[in-house]
Symmetry: C2
Subunit: 485 residues, 2 copies
């Protein structure tokens, strides 16, 4: 009989090793004892229990995700303090929700009732940067932008660049396997994590991976933790791979008479063997939203705006080649930036997309469906159809080179009917993504928002294996319960 | 109580979920029944039981690794046939050893007594190649070189290039997480595996990962299987990421008066932000061995020969910059190849290194220690010291840009004392690698050869976690038992 199976086996149930059984074992009023136990290994200022304060740690930036009230928020500064927290949590059977800067978009960092919120933001030291070994060793609370700037000073480059990079932490990036604009050339966070220090559910410290360029000693535990949303252990340190700093990128903007034509250009660019450092798409709705908000003077007559960039030794030559492919695909206007300043303006427009769309109706739900890039045009057409069906404004911004779309549903959260339609359209977009051979999440994660969809994507055997892994690492179900599954 | 712990817990023992208990349950003469059961789902020509034939499937290319006698060798052609084999193996509690082309260097594919050897070489179809999506979908028995050539015809590039690329299979590459010469720029096999089809121990089929450029839905099961040496499941299909075909690379050779000077050049090149497509080192012993065998006319006066290559748009410019760094580090001679033919000759010399070293004494043990490249000079000095201590010839070839050394111990297998010294020096080289912050295996894997060393590298908590994962996927311990741990 396998441990990986459709139904919980009796041995596992007897051993209390299944997640989701936790609340039955919880004492009724655990908070006082909990605080006392936490304070035995943490300084007073690192343990917050005032509900007015702790409530501000209840949730991340996702819409439509339930969030409970934490019993305590802890702000450890050392690995030993995190180990203490996990030992207390195991002893008292209290759920632990790890948090970075709470900029996530799937509710993965949302508190559950009576939990310990374990915020890693005070563990924010960069411990080492080596230009020869091209690595950085960091604590989890380091802000992405702080790391990026620090490594730049050594001529190095840490590519992962989520939109929230000025706020989000490396620990949060690792927990959610974050992407960004750079991925089409440089890949996602996962590809930059060489090794981790992880505090396990019972407080033991595990070191995974390596600080060498290569290494295959044993199972790849490092990658198992990346994207696990704090449900397998608490990341307390990371060794990250760095790249040499590339030349300044140069950006081109191309206007298209249809989304399909823009997607055709994307396919021609990738099929042609080009390696852009960025290949982004903004649809008409998004372009208009950005103009309305920031008066950028973007061309509102366009149905789709494509931005392509190269950070190669001769970016102008690459932009010329890609510009020709855009014209062949039907672009009505192709404008390469002349210099870094013009490039930055175009990127600024792209970065304002979500804020612009938020202003349309006050609230947005940002989907994150990634499809094979050969199916991107069908994805855009489908989203358009879904927007019509539900009478909603849905703007699409996409990391087009990756096939990673962010259809963004704009709605008035005060209107229950519109909110219901928003949620339904959001789900229908995921169904469409799966139909096109894609995934429900390219870079934002599952969290609370998409947990019912994970099973649809990975199927029953996939779910059984994932649950078995969860139970192996977290037999008491105290690590970020209620997320992913 | 955690599932991940130092001692087997009683529940797990009761449920028979620990590896290593298997032989106790084996019937005494299982072979006849086994053959009959296998033939119920496989054609006769796919089941081999003649010991003269099956014995040729007993081991891979590693020295000093025990290998048992298989009860049967099966050569399935379909996923369903593999599922049948695993169901029979589970039913009869027979160990299964998956095999590709048996070119591995750690004994990971070695048979155990009474096992089913599950050879995947007949599942050798390339199912799909897409230039737009930059992916290939393949069966596990596809030979690496066959895939490389097939994707080249689409203007694409599958980088992983182990030395055995003309023989080794993609399934084997995935099982051992193979590297190659390309890794310094393009990374190892793991970075090219997007999704897998895996038959689990009990015969169920699991699909992992995706065919999109990005995807973070659930735990990264794909990477867990890569490098797991067939101990968690049988890979029966893979979706691989491809790159556009780069320009033809141009190679430079530089001679150094010492290993330390060559390593200094490596550090200067990497610190300078260069991205060579290859950065290899051959020490004096290796250069001489290649000359003795193939009369290549390499400079025998050199203490270390460094080969650097670039596949950039202007490789000559990159080689000039790197050549200057080599001279600054003390190179006595720097010779950039004029064209592809000259480049190919230099690479040919590098590729003959291991064959050349084999000719020195008839037998070699190839170590695979990877250290941070900042410690490479210390590694070379240490190997030299160890060679002196054990009175042995140890040639070093290294993927120097990765810090991945292959100290190759040359010995006469007919001389027991020399064989003993060879094994001892081999182990001492691993100890040195760990001391320098490295790993016991950069790309060859653990297998049988290094399983006692895995624990030394990853520590007791690491081993507990790895064993718990093994037990989760393979509670009966039938998947390639005796490997890794």
């Amino acid at each position: 009989m396998s441990r990986i199976e459709a139904r919980p086996d009796e041995d596992a149930v007897a051993a209390g090793s299944l997640p989701g059984r936790l609340t039955e074992n919880l004492p009724e009023h655990p908070t006082e004892n909990l605080t006392e136990r936490l304070l035995a290994g943490l300084p007073a200022e690192a343990v917050l229990t005032d509900p007015d304060v702790t409530s501000s740690y209840a949730h991340d930036m996702a819409s439509f995700c339930e969030a409970g009230s934490p019993a305590a928020v802890v702000l450890p500064r050392t690995v030993e303090q995190v180990q203490h927290v996990m030992r207390v949590a195991t002893e008292l059977r209290v759920p632990v929700v790890p948090q970075g800067a709470r900029t996530g978009l799937s509710g993965a960092a949302n508190a559950s009732d009576g939990c310990i919120v374990l915020s890693l933001v005070k563990m924010d030291r960069i411990l080492e940067i080596s230009a020869v070994d091209r690595i950085a060793v960091v604590e989890p609370g380091v802000v992405n932008a702080a790391l990026s700037r620090a490594v730049n000073e050594h001529g190095l480059y840490y590519p992962p660049d989520p939109s929230s990079w000025e706020m989000c932490t490396i620990g949060g990036n690792i927990g959610t396997a974050s992407g960004g604009l750079c991925c089409v050339k440089y890949g996602v966070t996962a590809e930059y994590v060489l090794g981790l220090d992880v505090v396990l559910a019972d407080g033991r410290l595990l070191s995974t991976g390596r600080r060498t360029a290569k290494g295959v000693a044993g199972y790849d535990l490092t990658r198992l933790f990346v994207g696990s949303e704090g449900s397998l252990g608490i990341v307390v340190g990371a060794t990250l791979a760095l790249k040499p700093q590339p030349p300044q990128q140069l950006v081109l903007a191309a206007e298209f008479p249809s989304g399909a034509a823009a997607c055709d250009a994307v396919c021609r660019i990738m099929e042609g063997g080009h390696v852009p450092s960025l290949l982004e798409l903004m649809d008409r709705t998004t372009v208009k939203a950005v103009n309305d908000m920031a008066h950028m003077g973007l061309p509102e007559s366009t149905e789709a705006l494509l931005l392509a960039a190269f950070d190669t030794p001769d970016p102008a030559a690459d932009l010329a080649a890609v510009g020709a492919l855009c014209e062949a695909a039907g672009a009505t206007q192709v404008v390469p930036a002349e210099d870094a300043a013009e490039s930055e303006l175009l990127l600024q427009a792209r970065r304002l997309s979500l804020t612009g769309l938020e202003a349309v109706k006050g609230t947005t739900m940002i989907d994150d469906v990634c499809v094979p890039r050969s199916r991107l045009a069908e994805m855009l057409e489908g989203v358009d159809r879904i927007a019509g069906k539900y009478r909603l404004t849905i703007g699409v911004v996409a990391h087009a080179g990756d096939g990673n779309t962010h259809p963004t549903v704009c709605f008035d959260a005060g209107d229950p009917d519109e909110s219901r339609r928003a949620r339904e359209s959001f789900d229908e977009i995921m169904a469409l993504g799966l139909e096109l051979g894609g995934t429900i999440t390219g870079e934002h994660g599952v969290g609370v928002l998409k947990k019912e969809w994970l099973a649809r994507e990975i199927g029953p055997v996939g779910i059984e294996v994932q649950r078995a892994l969860k139970a192996t690492f977290d037999p008491l179900g105290i690590l970020n319960p209620g997320k992913l599954f």
